[in-house]
Amino acid sequence: MRSNRTAWGLLAPTLLVLGFAGLLPFFYVVYVGFFDWNVFSKTGDLVWAGANNYRRLVFDTEFLAALKRGIVFTLWTVTLEMVLGMALAQLLMREFKGKSFFRAVHALPLTVAPIAVGATWRLMTIPGLGPLPYYLRRIGIDYNIGRYAGQAFATTVLMDVWHWTPFVTLTLLAGLTALPREPFEQAMVDGANRWQILRHLTLPMLRPVILTALFLRIMDALRIVDEVWMLTGGGPGTATRYVGIHVWRVVFPKTDYGYGSAMSVLLLYFTIVLCWLLLTAITQARRETD
């Protein structure tokens, strides 16, 4: 009755679609990565290039700088989001009037399209129009993200924190609500203070959930494009040109498809390795806590 043929039949449409939209591009980009392909060259043909694109990539200081910038951005945003999210989740563990209202408002940024997030922040920070430069000037701060690299970087971090802290809060809150109560009651009876409970009970028991939130945030922060593209366009100079934006800016205007493909392959490779490392850590943690 339960034949494998039926199972494959049910899976076939999904495998077909994912094969087309996921696997085919993957193999194709690996293939093109071994060629020189520039639309503006004389013939516009693919010319075999062997490992040349990759050799070039390893010494491409702009690409490496963008990668590093993306990693620094990820470290800042994810750290801030995890700390803030944990604090807010703790606050939401209490009962108080209006809690569900505050929680809903807190979740609001999660549903907003990243490109619209970029647009709103641009509207707030544009000199001569936005409230931020105007009111900061009144207290003597010259705020202009079109001019100062540090401020542009900090603003992209703040925007990401605004957008994604709720995700960490809600995830950790879900984890916290699922924890058994007895160990906490026991610890209270034993006279442990809040900090000790957090350090020795909450954090260890919550580890799989914390790691899951961390994993998803790291993956998302590393591949950020839309919001930052809309807010700063990667500037001023290259201050906020994170790796996704770099690929976007290099590949399309220059139509250097072979080189762009090599770049995409390397990006995918980094992602797969990172994904694997983090997933292993999560499974490990789940096994230990169960």
Partner: protein, 283 residues
């Protein structure tokens, strides 16, 4: 300190924190509403924190005299098409993964999620090349078509839907399908008559979140379309040009873009964690 005083003090701090957070969260969106209601002259005046008049032209011109009405329709067609495709395929695939032991099913399950994790920046070039240059039948290409984006969005939405639904279908007792099959029901009948009704709330959440993810997407839409299938998110980025930006209209279109998601928030809020973590963390 007396315990009572201490308690009301901590209550007060709690409310101060949440009020501040609410203000910080809402301010950028509130500011966008203000900008969308202002004329060009008002905009470059001192940035006031309130608004008494409403300049509807910011909404009317782009939507009815410019292309943004069509962008909006495109977004709607593509999100809805993608949602329908994803939900149907995911129900079939999830049923197979949940009820059958086939060699390699665990690997298939994990492989689907790697598609979701891949950076879109790495996928946009091969998809662009395939759509615009390689896959063509005569003059017809996938580039700049609705179906092209509907298929491309499956890369991230289909794995998400499968991961979310798997937990739900696993929770439906297998005895129910066995009983139906003994009565002579086919697999399709079992899925349609038993699995779909029982998993309906989960399916609804999956559909809603898939729709929002497709609606919000930008990178694929920007690289895989040019005129006919442009979406509203791509349209938003087009406001930023070298000759200057029409801020009022941009704000108005940004509001149009985020309106459906905000309307859904009330419905989705409770499930958003399950959705965004692919069900890895249950609320």
């Amino acid at each position: 300190m007396k315990p009572n005083l201490r308690k009301s003090l901590s209550q007060a701090i709690n409310y101060i924190v949440w009020t501040l957070l609410t203000l910080i969260t809402l301010f950028p969106i509130y500011w966008m509403f203000l900008v969308s209601a202002r004329t060009r002259v008002e905009l470059f005046d001192k940035p006031k924190l309130y608004q008494t008049s409403f300049y509807a032209e910011n909404f009317i011109r782009p939507l009815f005299r410019d292309v943004y009405g069509r962008y909006l329709l495109n977004s709607f067609i593509i999100s809805t098409g993608n949602m329908l495709l994803v939900v149907v395929l995911a129900i079939l695939a999830t049923y197979a993964l949940s009820r059958y032991r086939i060699p390699g099913d665990q690997n298939i399950f994990f492989w689907t999620i790697t598609n979701r994790m891949a950076p879109p920046a790495a996928f946009m070039l091969p998809l662009f090349l395939l759509y615009s240059r390689v896959l063509r039948i005569g003059d017809w290409r996938l580039f700049d078509t609705h179906i092209g984006l509907i298929l491309a969005y499956c890369v991230f939405n289909l794995p998400f839907a499968i991961w979310l639904l798997k937990g739900i279908v696993d929770g439906i007792p297998i005895e129910l399908d066995d009983a139906a099959m003994v009565d002579g029901a086919s697999v399709m009948q079992v899925i349609w008559r038993i699995i779909v009704p029982l998993a309906a709330p989960g399916i609804a959440i999956t559909a809603l979140l898939s729709w929002i993810f497709a609606w919000n997407e930008f990178l694929f839409a920007a690289t895989l379309t040019s005129v006919r299938a442009r979406t509203i998110t791509t349209g938003l980025s087009e406001f930023v040009t070298v000759v200057g930006t029409n801020w009022g209209e941009m704000a108005a279109m940004a509001i149009v873009c985020l309106a459906p998601a905000i309307l859904f928030l009330a419905l989705v809020q409770q499930y958003i964690v399950v959705g965004l973590t692919f069900g890895a963390v249950r609320e």
